[in-house]
């Protein structure tokens, strides 16, 4: 299985551990990631508030490059906002000829054409539907049955497009976690908004969103998420709110379940992982046990 990999900006900056752990886990599961050359910002959520045409063009530019450089394979976007922006192009442009034309006119400045042939996939979608639970479970090497995890899927990977999971009561992340052998924390906050960029421009309001999620997660050993913005928001303000709980990326936890050490999965790069949590992960089977691991840091 080959994918045109779209890491997005966050995974190159504050969420490097998400990029790295995604590559480790996908390689182990025989998913071949090919980099999209010269990919650029997808527009995040901010650009649509300035120009809808620009937001669509930025995302379409990346898909046009993928269609040209890596034809016939799906685009894999682990970041929820990137996934939504790219997916929006796939959903909206082919059914609106005028919009498709105006976006392609903009892309013509780079001699690019978006044709609508490429399919955009999120990591959760690929894990569930391409890899499958049987293979996901077959690699588990470490017993994590003493760990209770709150599955936090967030918003934009689920909404507004209903693609692979229920937009309000998501199941896929919890099912993958159960396959890893952990217990799933029962809660109703899996798809609740983390506040997104309100933490940057309306802090007090955003903090209420974070508080509500962190409070509901109490009792779990950690939160597992698939979005760099959710991870940052949920971790960065724990001190302010006086609520502590580690927040891991899904492939980081999968790596742990698959026997990699917490160091190798870069758990020390997350902001909120206490040493006691790390100790519970070691000693373990180390990364050296795997021959075909991706480049370390």
């Amino acid at each position: 299985m080959k994918y045109a990999y779209f890491p997005g900006c966050s995974l190159m900056e504050s969420a490097k551990e998400y990029d790295f752990s995604t590559k480790v886990v996908m390689e182990l599961l025989d998913g071949k990631l090919r980099d999209i050359p010269d990919w650029g910002c997808c527009g995040a959520t901010a650009v649509e508030s300035v120009s809808r045409e620009l937001a669509l063009s930025l995302a379409a530019r990346n898909l046009a490059i993928a269609e040209k450089a890596l034809p016939g394979i799906d685009v894999l976007a682990p970041c929820s906002a990137c996934y939504l922006n790219l997916r929006r192009v796939q959903e909206e442009l082919p059914k609106d000829r005028e919009l498709m034309q105006s976006v392609n006119k903009i892309l013509s400045v780079e001699d690019l054409v978006y044709s609508g042939s490429v399919s955009v996939r999120h990591l959760l979608d690929v894990l569930e539907n391409d890899i499958g639970y049987e293979r996901l479970g077959a690699h588990v090497q470490r017993d994590l049955s003493n760990l209770t995890v709150a599955p936090y899927t967030g918003c934009q990977v689920l909404r507004p497009y209903r693609v692979f999971d229920d937009p309000e009561r998501p199941q896929v992340l919890a099912k993958i976690l159960k396959t890893m052998g952990v217990n799933v924390h029962p809660w109703g906050h899996s798809s609740r908004c983390c506040g997104a960029s309100l933490l940057a421009n309306h802090r007090a309001v955003g903090l209420e969103a974070v508080r509500s999620i962190l409070e509901a997660a109490q009792g779990a050993d950690c939160i597992v998420t698939v979005c760099p913005m959710c991870q940052m928001n949920l971790e960065l303000y724990q001190g302010t709110l006086g609520l502590r709980i580690p927040v891991l990326y899904l492939p980081q936890l999968m790596g742990i379940a698959y026997g990699f050490s917490s160091d190798f999965m870069r758990l020390d790069e997350n902001l909120s992982i206490p040493s006691t949590f790390l100790e519970s992960m070691t000693p373990g089977i180390h990364a050296e046990n795997f021959n075909n691991r991706p480049e370390g840091r």
Binding site: C9, C41, A46, V50, L54, V109, P160, R162, R192, A200
Partner: protein, 184 residues
């Protein structure tokens, strides 16, 4: 009937027409307000905002804090029994407010800083983006409010000097998509 309202809307708020069309089917059930995680902090709840929009109350709608408190979680959009694109309408209102109510432009500082930033760097460089946002907001308290968070990120090596390797990559697309006066 309602001829006077309609005339008023057409005369005073032609720019709103397209967005108004998006929420024309609103039956005021309030599902959006009940679903919105940020409604508690808004001056008008989403339901009230759609009503004002349908009545052509341009100043109230575009001047409201509500549109900037939407965190784009799309819960209202998936729950709306009429299937209206409500989150999209919020984004459209932000664009209109920038255009029609220059006195509220400081509220859009983050979005504007974002577009300027990617036009230069091609990809988001988080530290440089925040610096640009601070400069644009012209509020000296804003960077201070990020001190604690910034220090935590710094200690974890998560703040980076801007990397110039993709500089200018998106400039042509940004310039082609946005007329000059749309940029700042």
């Amino acid at each position: 009937m309602h001829a006077s309202t309609e005339t008023l809307s057409i005369r005073e708020a032609p720019a709103l027409a397209k967005v108004r069309e998006m929420v024309m089917g609103c039956m005021q059930c309030g599902t959006c307000s009940a679903s919105c995680p940020n409604a508690f902090a808004m001056d008008y709840t989403p339901r009230q905002l759609w009503r004002l929009l349908l009545l052509g109350q341009e100043q109230e709608v575009l001047g409201s804090k509500t549109i900037y408190l939407c965190s784009s979680c799309y819960t209202c959009t998936v729950r709306c029994p009429r299937g209206l694109p409500l989150t999209e309408a919020m984004h459209a209102l932000k664009r209109l407010a920038w255009e029609r109510l220059p006195q509220t432009r400081s509220r859009a500082a983050f979005y504007q800083a974002f577009v300027e930033h990617i036009r230069i760097y091609g990809r988001v460089q988080e530290s440089a983006l925040m610096a640009r946002y601070f400069a644009k907001s012209r509020d000296p308290r804003l960077p201070l409010s990020f001190t604690a968070a910034g220090l935590r990120l710094l200690r974890k090596g998560k703040l980076h000097v801007p990397d110039a390797s993709h500089k200018g990559m998106l400039k042509r697309v940004v310039d082609a998509a946005m007329p000059k006066e749309g940029r700042t």
